[in-house]
């Protein structure tokens, strides 16, 4: 089937002054200047709304005594599709398994949230957070201490009152 192409007629520069079209456009611009239904916000004084299911940089949950909840089971580096988690397990002085090294490369991370979903002890979470600017690239590899310091809220991957989305 032959493709039909609509050929637009564009007046040449000498045929029209474009004055009417320009005025129409400027009218729209000035209308928005006083439009009460504005969409921009005064960041950073005003904060944007982030969904509780927003998946941003990670948070490691801690016990009351400050130890990480992570038990170094190795499921998050296994499930991670971007291969951005480095984990070395060990045993602490109380005989518990814990992560000696736990690093997440936030540049490699694709924020799928599977690490949070797979975690059997609800230790690692993606977070409701987007302000991640740093001066150097190496600051984007978050180590265990940094992950535990993060104070933004953890993501809710599903509605706790309706976990199966029924």
């Amino acid at each position: 089937m032959a493709v039909t192409v609509k050929v637009m007629h564009r007046p040449e520069a000498g045929e029209t002054s474009y004055l009417r079209a320009t005025l129409k456009g400027m009218a729209l611009t000035f209308k928005h200047l006083v439009n009460p239904k504005k969409v921009t916000i005064e960041y950073p004084e005003e904060r944007p709304f982030l969904s509780p299911r927003w998946r941003g940089t990670h948070v490691m949950e801690t016990h009351a005594d400050g130890r990480p909840k992570c038990v170094a089971c190795g499921l998050c580096p296994t499930v991670c599709p971007a291969n951005c988690i480095r984990l070395v397990g060990g045993e602490d002085d109380m005989g518990n398994r814990y992560p000696i090294v736990y690093e997440i490369d936030e540049f490699r991370c694709i924020f799928c949230g599977m690490c949070q979903e797979v975690c059997p002890v609800e230790a690692i979470h993606v977070g409701v957070h987007f302000e991640n600017a740093e001066y150097t690239r190496d600051r984007f590899v978050y180590d265990l201490d940094r992950l535990m310091e993060q104070d933004h809220p953890s993501t809710l991957l599903w509605d706790p009152s309706d976990p199966l989305s029924e």
């Binding site: 038990v71 089971c73 190795g74 499921l75 296994t78 397990g89 060990g90 045993e91 059997p120």
Partner: protein
Amino acid sequence: MSESATKPMVTATLDGRTVTVPKGTTILQAAETVGVWVPHYCYHPGLSSPAQCRLCLVEVQGAPKLAPSCVTELQEGQVVHTESPKAKEMRQGVLEFYLANHPLDCPVCDQSGECKLQDYVHAEGRVHGRSREPKRGFGRDDYGRDVLFYGDRCGRCTRCVRFMDEVAKDPRLTVVERGNRSVIDTFFEEGLQGSAFAGNIVDICPVGALVSKDFLHKARAWDLDHSPSVCPNCSQGCNIDLHVRDDVVQRLRPRANLEVNHHWMCDYGRHRYEWMNRQDRIEVPVVGSSADGVALEWGLALRQVADRLANAPQPVMAVASASSSNEDLGALAHLVRALGGGEIVFRSERAEKEIPLPGFPTLTRRYDLVPNRMGAEILGMTRVGKDDGTGGLEGWAAHRGTLLVLGDELRDVGVDFGPSAGLYVYLGSYPTPAASSAHAVLPVTTFAEGEGTFANVEGRVQRFWPGVRPPGLARPAWLVLAALVERLGGAAVPESAEAAFLRVAELAPELQGLTYEAIGTQGALLNEPVALPGSRS
């Protein structure tokens, strides 16, 4: 079938399949021959069957109750169902009982990923347990040696107890208490201290009750690559798997070979793997003395070495290593022959005593602590030096001819080795002071990085496969040596380790007719029976 002539056979139906096995075969073993895998804990092919785990029960048509397949012999005309609703319901019930007290600590358990209980419950168990009782706890216990016991995880299959009784013949473990409180324990304070084969109970434990201290929390089972190999720590040549993660050997595990090591290996061999992970390596070929040596790529290095070898000063003397494969040693012998012949010696460590496994004496930690003394000897190399692997090279310092070294680090000789030699070529994996006066240092791969064969103490040639990537430009020694032979006007470089192996047979009639295919994963005996070097003085 040759078996049918000697032994009466029985034919039966198993899950709708016809199976013919020698009389006396258990249902479980017969099922394995046709690819039906009956779940089991207490049964192990290397141990007796107490039929106490109750997991391998199968339905035999006509029998009033389910039969434990690990001890029930298959009878003529029997019809067996392993997947019938009755058998499945029973297995689900048994698994639920196992989980009544088993802690669900899979995330922190080292067995996770290779755990039989995990596998079976995932396959057939109930989704949710119904037990409302609190689980009983035992905590963990240090059994001595490399073994740690987590009592909560134990399912009382008693494989470990039976291994110590029947195979190690050193009964140090038993079941104490009864019923819900029964648990494995040691008799005395010393636990497994002094047992030379206790590491095997970690391998045969179907759950994570017995774990290795050395491997504790080191790697997850699903991260490990398994490469079939041969234990390089003595001349017994136990079949093993290298468990490798990120090019680092994490542990050694025995691989079944009923002729050599059954399902076992000794703790001596099991725990000597750290040297495979040594990071100080020779990574590039260096031609020239240590003061003005130049790192070169292989083509240039081989040409320069071959040019010098073409006018090699006589006589030629070589030091080999009994830790090298037959392929490497054969290629060295070919090179020495191409240079006009000469003496090849090797030095090897020897233990003061053998450590036999009483229940399976074929498996013994041998005198020779090198894997391929037999291979070196059938290739005409002579052992020199003392039993600690040193000495024997006292007269070599004044040697003025050509000197070749393959693999031996020459730690005891040091910088005094070879300064007066007319030409000194060192092929090795690790930097050593003894190579400082070498005219060329060529990097070769280690046993864990290459493919090859060892001949063990009884003359069984066994293959090993690479498990780790070689560092830098290191190449297999057979490839380097064969390239030198080719440049000296000899035969073309073999295309593979197998071709290199076939070429070794030209030097040793014992190896003739053997191929990699014939050796397979279980090894093949040398053509001519050879007296055990271990029995020599």
